[in-house]
Amino acid sequence: MAARKIVTPLTDDVVRSLHAGDEVAISGVVYQARDAAHKRLVALLEAGEPLPFELQGAVVYYMGPSPTKPGAVIGSAGPTTSGRMDAYAPTLMSHGLKGMIGKGLRTPEVKLAMAAAPAVYFAATGGAGALLARRIVGNEVIAYPELGPEAIARLTFDDFPAIVVNDCHGADLYEEGRKTYARQER
């Protein structure tokens, strides 16, 4: 199946048209943010202060790259475990976040927030950071440089490969895939 090309920022129509299992190639601006950055973003929202980037329609990538070698755009850049951002994700979605890229399981609360937003959760291949870095053509730190790999960066994707795990209709590729291949024991 050929990957469907999608471009950020995401509209509600695009989000609703995506279904668990869809392979996508993402292009456009995506914001790099992981644990420490999420903590600060949610604190800003709770204080009613502006964020360092426009959240409406935005896609975030749960990722902290390795340092950029001279002449390169970015170091290795694969996804980190999304579950650590579950405490913050519903707040961001209620303020306009439309897409999350990471790897691993989400909580029921996050899935409910995705249905309400609507928003979509994509998985990229964990541990393929050298390969995925080739699909990132722009990289500019825009907030919290003191956090090192946990800073927020404005990345530009060019056909970045991912797969829809949780759509806004309640489907979950992790659950479905596992059911398909599970063997009954004795």
Binding site: A36, M63, G64, P65, S66, P67, T68, K69, A72, G75, S76, A77, G78, T80, T81, G83, K103, G104, L105, A123, T125, G126, G127, A128, G129, A130, L131, A133, R134, L147, G148, P149, I163, L173, Y174, E176, G177, R178, K179, T180, Y181, A182, R183, E185
Partner: protein, 287 residues
């Protein structure tokens, strides 16, 4: 001492240089056994999506090796297993300091990510040089120093577990603990995974056994036939879960299960499961 034993001098600067190199090559160059297991997995996997993941992982390993870039952006906690020959006389400074200096240089010069934070429950401030390293030293006969470096990523480490089982739970209890650990981890630890299982000892030792088990070569059988059989059974049970590569569903969830066992207290049956992602990065050198 009645007989003087010749001792060999080794400058700890040589240790620093070796550790620097180990940190980089471990992160750039996947061991041949792991690389082979990924290639074999692409053939064995029944799920088309899972097969594609294996192919991506092989390509990723090629890019990392050829371009000398990290296989994964999480270049890990630097964990060392050292076999220190008792006839070696280390000179020029502290051994542990020399290892940490090697980590400092390797992670800087290799453009590796610094992933260690101090005061984990409070400030979580990055130590900025990926130190401190974790160093397990065993004193052994001989006049050589064998150093094995493991770059241990956080995502898979977080899915690891420890169970202080009742002796009455026996082997079925161990199987349940291992299967439950993998089942709950699902897609989180970047499957296909490798499992290091420690059985016996004390709460501290069982986790070291589990980590040490991860250094075994994929495809190797445990020399003890009984334990080799246990490993085969656990591998089958874990792969029956259907989690598959990256948790997308499939037959190849786990590449290998390695068990290290030692006697336990009459009251205890500790079991530790150390989960390792597919990027099983380790390198060894003998000085």
């Amino acid at each position: 001492m009645s007989e003087a034993h010749p001792s060999r001098e080794l400058d700890v600067a040589d240790v620093t240089a070796a550790v620097r190199e180990l940190c980089m090559t471990a992160n750039f160059d996947l061991p041949a056994d792991v690389y082979g297991a990924l290639r074999a997995g692409a053939q064995a996997e029944e799920s088309p999506a899972g097969k594609a993941i294996f192919e991506q992982l092989v390509e990723n390993a090629d890019i990392a090796r050829d371009g000398r870039v990290p296989i994964c952006q999480d270049t890990g906690f630097a964990v060392f297993f050292v076999n220190l020959g008792q006839d070696v006389h280390l000179v020029g400074g502290s051994f542990d300091d020399a290892v940490n200096e090697g980590v400092r240089r390797g992670y800087a010069d290799g453009y590796l990510r610094k992933s260690i934070v101090a005061q984990p429950a409070h400030a979580r401030a990055n130590t900025t040089d990926n130190t401190p390293a974790i160093v397990h030293t065993t004193i052994v006969p001989g006049d050589e120093v064998e150093i094995t470096m493991m770059a241990k990523g956080g995502g898979a480490e977080n899915m690891s577990s420890l169970a202080m089982l009742k002796p009455s739970q026996g082997w079925p209890g161990v199987v349940a603990a291992v299967v439950d650990t993998v089942s709950r981890a699902g897609s989180n630890p970047c499957p296909p995974i490798v499992l290091g299982v420690g059985i016996g000892g004390t709460i501290d030792m069982v986790t070291v056994l589990a980590k040490k088990a991860l250094l075994r070569e994929i495809g190797s059988s445990h020399p003890d036939e009984r334990i080799a059989g246990m490993e085969v059974e656990l591998l089958d049970r874990v792969n029956a879960l259907g989690i598959g590569p990256q948790g997308l569903g499939g037959t190849q969830t786990c590449l290998a299960v390695f068990i290290e066992e030692m006697p336990s207290h009459i009251a205890s049956m500790p079991v530790a499961v150390n989960v390792q992602c597919h990027a099983q990065r380790h390198k060894r050198i003998v000085l």
